[in-house]
Symmetry: C2
Subunit: 252 residues, 2 copies
Amino acid sequence: MEDNINCAYCNNKVCFINQHCSVNWMNIISEAKNQLWYKKGQYIFREGDRIFGLYFIERGKVKIISTGLNNKEQIVRLAVTGHVIGHRGENHETYPIGAVALEDTQLCFLDNDIVYEAFMNNPNLTFSLMMFYSSELRKTEIRERHLAQMSIREKIADTLLYLKEIFGMNSTDGSLNAVLSRQEIAEIAGTSVEQVIRELTDFENEKLIIKQGRKIILFDVDGLVRIVAPHNKNRYSSAWPRPNRNGFLGKQ
Amino acid sequence: MEDNINCAYCNNKVCFINQHCSVNWMNIISEAKNQLWYKKGQYIFREGDRIFGLYFIERGKVKIISTGLNNKEQIVRLAVTGHVIGHRGENHETYPIGAVALEDTQLCFLDNDIVYEAFMNNPNLTFSLMMFYSSELRKTEIRERHLAQMSIREKIADTLLYLKEIFGMNSTDGSLNAVLSRQEIAEIAGTSVEQVIRELTDFENEKLIIKQGRKIILFDVDGLVRIVAPHNKNRYSSAWPRPNRNGFLGKQ
DNA sequence: GTAAGAATCTGTTTTTTCGCAGGAAAAGGC
DNA sequence: GCCTTTTCCTGCGAAAAAACAGATTCTTAC
């Protein structure tokens, strides 16, 4: 017997279930769900596994990976609290991607059958999840496509901004709320470790960031945005060309 | 007054509306929809336009584009009969991508308000569209991510296979059911026209394809798959390493 | 605290890709 | 059909990125 928290008392208020299900269905789901805990570095599922339902991230950070040539890991997407992983496919489909916890992470697993019933009985749940996927699709399409045309310098600046968007910045010192290795940054940017290291050094010399071991402080966000901006006017329009509010001025 | 075809008598049976709406709702939608015709090369919407609803492709081919650096067009996605374009966003959102007809194309436009009502009253419609987006998202993520790590040669082989997947092959001569310029192929592969031209010449010399002007015959599909395979074992597993049924043998 | 191992950094070489220039071929308009 | 315009093709030099090798620093286990 699982010792499930009832969704009604769950702290995660950005959860799709919590936001879009009737009280009645929240009770059904509370009974049916499997609450899972993963330690940092642990696999949630592996490439090729069959997935039997949806995982809702209750609290934590997850990387979605896919292995390319030479068994080289590539980070396909990052997911945080409130996101859904394990897109529901047909039952016979296997899933060519894996998911790994980037820090201690808590998930709620829902079986496909229950999920389906929940969808049929909670139109707003289905609708909001559809909007989520639609929005993610649009963002992914544009982001990845532009990535294909960018120089290394632009790719890495873009990756730092992506990390800021997903994980956020510490409001005290301006550091990214995520600790990734240089290797992982390379796997997101789609380049080699050496290039990431070189470019981060350049960014530091240009007073755009400050390196403190693996911790990265985004010292001049607008400066980074300017590097990527020609490719992403629409994505970053709210932040550009607005003057830097901190008074910091990046290298032109 | 529009002279709308009633959905019940529409020839496009892969349409989401036709497959997943009640008869009652099909009538409502038949009244509400706007049927639109676009000539080859015509814009359906432009980058930055506000989109007020969904476009269902009744018949035709469409490219979704996004402008990057130097006003260089990039093809973000291709869509054909049965697909949906103009992902519904919030009303205030503008849409940083454009859509252009690749051949004479017929669309059904549905206003956001009607679409929303249809979603709330046809759970299977919402569900199937959610699955569509979810599946597109997964495919896009993996495809684009692998593209980032591929060599030019691999990118272009992958693009040819993508075109085959979307548009299909003529069963008589094995040519792609789509006529794209070298420029457009470059915009899909994420490289320059020159590289596309060079690589297509190489592929022809290696007896993988046959060029006939803009028409491209995929002479040895398995050979192309082998070029990309290390990156895409899962995507192409059904076609690889199955022996070539035509008896053609590509260069090893 | 120490030592082993892993990750990070830097200089150099090699490979790949880009992009111009100019000629050939094809597509489209009349 | 013919002519104009666009697209396609090829070679070459420049630039960018990747790959390698070795030194240094940081982690982590004991």
